[in-house]
């Protein structure tokens, strides 16, 4: 069984936000709008965090795309009273929308703040409501949602591979963010296959995980050269 994981090369990331836009389109993310976004209610399953170092004019801006880390020891999972979030055998941290009653305990327990709550029923300004992805369910008010590693694409690839009686090939599954990254900074694949591209990248000396010291064992591995 594949163990899905992701590598994000921060030395390649330009902070262009293409992954954010692609994720929005692929996963039917609601458009919060200017007013709601100002209140801190924007929906971005993946976001580019910007940290600015130094004093003007000697500034250095650093980018880090942050999405659900699909932790093996996820703090969000045990706290859900209704099993709306759980760990799949393939290592995905899965959110079952229909089970969610909206306690938001998971969102508070997540050290990466990557869980999003539907404050209202979803809205799309014209004509965006006509481009909804039919393979992704639309969420309603009162439930939590977050990055799924584009589980619909994983399913599709797995189904196809099953029909053709072969394992899923390396690079066959591409989440929207990885597919749209112009600098190829995001790589997705099977971490249990030592030959996969993601495994090779993850074993590099540059590899680290976000807030590794918390013991959450994230499935997202970042690559970064030491400070230059």
């Amino acid at each position: 069984m594949p163990q899905w994981g992701m590598v994000i090369d921060l030395d390649r990331c330009t902070g262009c936000n293409a992954c954010v836009a692609a994720c929005h389109a692929e996963n039917n993310l609601p458009i919060a709008g200017e007013e709601e976004a100002a209140k801190g209610r924007s929906f971005h399953w993946i976001r580019i965090e910007r940290y600015i170092e130094g004093e003007y004019p000697n500034l250095k801006t650093r980018f880090i795309p942050v999405l659900c880390q699909h932790c093996d020891e996820a703090p969000c999972e045990p706290v859900c009273p209704v099993f709306a979030t759980y760990h799949s055998p393939q290592g995905l941290n899965v959110q079952v929308y229909n089970r969610c009653i909206g306690t938001r305990f998971c969102a508070n327990a997540c050290p990466y703040t990557v869980r999003h709550f539907n404050w209202f029923d979803p809205r799309w300004p014209e004509p965006l409501e006509r481009q909804l992805n039919p393979e992704v369910s639309v969420r309603t008010k009162g439930m939590i949602e977050k990055c799924t590693f584009c589980i619909q694409r994983i399913r599709k690839a797995a189904d196809l591979a099953k029909d053709e009686e072969r394992p899923v090939g390396d690079g066959e599954v591409q989440p929207a963010c990885a597919q749209s990254c112009p600098t190829d900074a995001i790589v997705f694949g099977d971490l249990s296959d030592p030959g996969s591209r993601v495994s090779k990248l993850a074993s590099q000396r540059r590899a680290f995980r976000l807030q590794e010291d918390l013991g959450t064992q994230p499935r997202v591995i970042y690559l970064k050269e030491g400070s230059e």
Partner: protein
């Protein structure tokens, strides 16, 4: 016992039940108006979604959860204090036990309501209950929220029983002596006749419940604190939280008890029963809890400050020197700086003094809950996501409605039942005599002497 004294006691203590003035209806109407507005606000929130609140990412919880902890804390007034006083056989407990036990039961009806209000999909709240369903799922007992559901349910049932048992002789008394609501008292009195056998059983049951209710009450606020302490969040993930919350709960519970005593004394004309000595004694308890609270607060904040971890300090500074500073220092002033001196000196430990101190403590403990919930949530570990929070009119209206609802239920309770235990008061009189051979139902309220 002096028959005249018994008659006077009976008259005084059942007067609030029997006589209804205009004030009663006006109070209920005023409280009812606030409740109706809050109900509308909740409907508005359910219809539109939780976006009508001030919540955002990362502050997913706010006033509602602060109120949840606050009200569950208030519920420790009662049962725990009255149980401790009963177990230690403190004679001065007699006029305040029922008053305290009623606070417990009613506060336990308000607190969990806030979880319901806070849910994104309130209409599915019953999914946290373990019952065989088409989903084929039990609730997740690894979640601290399920521990809360279990402990609070147990506590509600326990404290209802504990409120009800010592009320049986008084219910029989009302059944036999009042013209109104006979059916209610007859049903609830369970055929109480006041035979020695019944007395013996009742006193055994009360003693057992008094001991049982203490660990249950402690467990309740322990698991409430674990909602926070079991996460990895800065200034939530703390081993001190369970005892800190339990102490805070008892502290606020005693304060609300003093307030209730003070209001009842005037409104139900119970000056002869709720005397300065009672305010003095409960005031001393409040002082002791204030000092213990201060000790826990210092222990919690000094270790955080000395440890100086960046994530913890972000929250620490936000609370002590940032936007939450008025709330934090208001809490310190209301929980210790002002009430402690007032309660410490005999000269100011009067009825007015203890009441004022208690009012401050209630405010201070609410602020503590707010500071704990909001302080941590505004500063998650990844600094890019820091954000402030301010409640909206919807949240504040619903909160006001909860306070009104509590007062409404309490007023109703004092109307239906004697708020001071008639038989316990009589049993406490120095001249309490051994029971005479029961000549009939009129003596059904005479207890066995100890």
């Amino acid at each position: 016992m002096d028959q005249a004294a018994a008659v006077a006691i009976h008259r005084d203590l059942t007067r609030p039940v029997l006589e209804t003035g205009r004030g009663f209806y006006m109070t209920l109407a005023a409280l009812g108006t606030v409740m109706a507005w809050a109900l509308f606000c909740w409907g508005y929130q359910v219809y539109h979604g939780l976006g009508v609140t001030g919540f955002n990412r990362p502050v997913f919880w706010g006033v509602y959860i602060a109120n949840f902890i606050f009200w569950i804390g208030i519920s420790h007034a009662g049962t725990l204090i009255s149980a401790i006083l009963r177990v230690t056989q403190a004679g001065w407990r007699r006029p305040i036990t029922r008053c305290a036990e009623a606070i417990t039961v009613l506060a336990l009806m308000i607190g969990p309501m806030f979880i319901l209000i806070d849910l994104g999909r309130s209409w599915l709240f019953y999914w946290v209950l373990p019952y065989p369903s088409e989903r084929g799922l039990w609730p997740n007992f690894r979640s601290p929220l399920l521990w809360d559901v279990s402990c609070i349910t147990t506590y509600l049932i326990g404290s209802l029983t504990y409120l009800y048992l010592p009320m049986i002789p008084d219910l029989a008394l009302l059944r036999d002596s009042t013209p109104c609501r006979r059916w209610l008292y007859r049903t609830l009195a369970l055929g109480w006749k006041g035979t020695p056998r019944q007395w013996h059983r009742l006193e055994t049951a009360i003693s057992v419940m008094a001991v049982l209710i203490i660990p249950i009450a402690v467990s309740v606020h322990t698991v409430v604190s674990w909602i926070f302490a079991m996460t990895l969040n800065p200034m939530w993930h703390s081993t001190i939280f369970a005892p800190y919350f339990v102490v805070g709960a008892i502290f606020s519970g005693i304060a609300i008890l003093l307030l209730a005593m003070s209001i009842l004394r005037k409104s139900a004309r119970l000056e002869m029963y709720l005397r300065p000595v009672h305010f003095n004694n409960v005031g001393l308890l409040l002082l002791a809890l204030s000092l213990i609270w201060l000790y826990f607060t210092i222990a919690e904040y000094v270790t955080t400050w000395y440890g100086d971890l960046p994530e913890e300090m972000a929250v620490f500074r936000y609370k002590l020197a940032g936007p939450l500073a008025p709330y934090f220092w208001g809490m310190v002033a209301c929980c210790f700086l002002i009430p402690a001196p007032v309660l410490a000196f005999k000269k100011t430990r009067t009825i007015a003094g203890t009441t004022a101190a208690a009012a401050l403590v209630v405010v201070g403990m609410w602020l503590e809950r707010y500071v704990i919930v909001v302080g941590t949530l505004t500063h998650p570990r990844l600094a890019f996501n820091w954000r402030d929070y301010a409640p909206t009119w919807v949240e504040l209206s619903i909160m006001a409605g909860a306070f009104a609802y509590f007062a409404f239920l309490y007023v109703l309770f004092t109307k239906l039942f004697p708020i001071i235990s008639v038989w316990e008061w009589k049993a406490g009189l120095p001249s309490a005599s051994p029971p005479r051979p029961s000549p009939g139902a009129t003596l059904s309220h005479e207890p066995l002497p100890r």
